[in-house]
Symmetry: C2
Subunit: 276 residues, 2 copies
């Protein structure tokens, strides 16, 4: 998506992919979409999905799962897309995101064309948030500056959910806040994969020791092409046990519509300093 | 799993897979695990996962996604398993379930060994249910007998959630109930994939016209090897719009532990008689 004045938005540059034939797409993993040097999983998913959309000639991801296999780093990458089934309404495909010999992530998704209509049934509400300018900016945590991704994605956290940054977590594994691209790019369905992984982990507010929470798998359902403006998200974790936790997310747009549902499986927090 | 007296449980017979070399496993999709002649998606996932566990020499699925591509039918099937990455702790793999030339489902999963410990954090509760003998057996709906799968999996629904069968849905898309194998087989982690798809759709209680709800995609996270006894499940749908709905599930075991979380994307209900 290029603006009228030919400005290229950061997200479009960072997810630019070019076909090199036979389902293979070249890409460049950009700096600045990371946490402690490790590119954000949602960013990597969006990058791979952009190649999938290009290869499959579909406009919207409907549901995509990514299993994360090795840590990525800034630099060249390659995405191989393989269509599995092309139907009238849906196309399913897999993709492999690689850097050199290393496979970073494997994806499986179903794609189509989203046409919104008034819900036949809805039993959920967007998170109740004060206006963005009464919410909290990301702050340093445990000696770590807010991650670079927070310069690309503007975040405004519900003040009660920013407690982890002051050593005063509310004791409930929940994080809600506003989010939008810092450079004014409107969100589209592919970018919702990024927004599904852009807030601090909900488990940071649980009252457990803070730590690194590597994503093993993330699945995102996209339900609507988001309307322009701030997005509101709520992420919760119910269970931390046996070395794993899940995190469920909802993303709502400026028209109060539920545009995406996410869920990830991650490892339980391990000390941040191990990655410093 | 065979009982001491060499009795083979129904589920073990119905998910029996045999390696034919090179990652390929032969199987037989059994009658009697279906709804209106269409084998249950959770059963098909469990069948494919059994081949994946065999091929990968892992004991537990941790998180598995299946995208359903074509309707299955009772009869021979083949599962090709491909390991993607084998780490110390986790193995990731894809599988393709086929019948002849037709691909039924593509799966992507991460496997390992589940070791339960007391939760470091838990904020969820099992559904509040009266004892099984005070709950409701499955009943005919709209002229349809309870599906054959309800003879394999015993269900006892929360009475308030059985309203759809009487034309008196509560107006909230939720279904809770007890479930266990009818022949006494204990549940294990692979069978939780079946239990994640064994109750009537939550949307049946929304007050919308009842209908066929084909699953497009289902992802299940397994968190614990279930303790013996009845399982309790709760399934909810938040949003029916644009032709799609999601269904989220929790499965709890007899020790009050949250053993699995499921989520599916399905098509909005279409009239049942179209499948009669």
């Amino acid at each position: 998506m290029a603006a009228v004045n030919e400005k290229v938005y950061d997200f479009d540059a960072a997810t630019y992919t070019a076909s090199t034939g036979n389902g293979t797409w070249s890409a460049e993993i950009h700096d600045g979409w990371d946490f402690a040097g490790l590119p954000n999983g949602g960013y990597l998913m969006a990058l791979a999905v952009r190649a999938m959309l290009g290869e499959l000639s579909r406009n919207d991801p409907l549901v995509v799962s990514a299993h994360f296999l090795s840590p990525a780093s800034a630099g060249p990458a390659e995405i191989s897309v393989q269509s599995i089934r092309e139907g009238r309404r849906h196309t399913s495909a897999t993709a492999s995101l690689r850097q050199g010999e290393k496979e970073i992530a494997r994806l499986l998704g179903t794609f189509g064309e989203l046409v919104w209509n008034s819900p036949a049934y809805l039993r959920a509400e967007p998170p109740a948030l004060p206006p963005p300018d009464e919410c909290e900016l990301p702050r340093p945590v445990d000696g770590f500056e807010p991650p670079p991704i927070t310069r690309r994605v503007e975040l405004r956290l519900l003040p009660e959910h920013a407690g982890f940054a002051y050593g005063d977590p509310p004791g409930v594994a929940e994080v809600s806040g506003w989010a939008r691209f810092a450079d004014g790019r409107p969100a589209d369905t592919a970018s919702l994969l990024l927004f599904a992984d852009a807030l601090p982990p909900a488990v940071f507010n649980a009252g457990l020791p803070l730590g690194w929470v590597p994503t093993i798998e993330m699945t995102v359902q996209i339900r609507k092409r988001p309307s322009p403006g701030w997005l509101r998200s709520r992420f919760i974790t119910r269970l931390v046990a046996g070395g794993y936790l899940e995190e469920d997310g909802e993303i709502w747009d400026s028209e109060d519509d539920l545009v995406a549902l996410s869920r990830q499986l991650a490892l339980s927090p391990s000390p941040l300093k191990d990655r410093k």
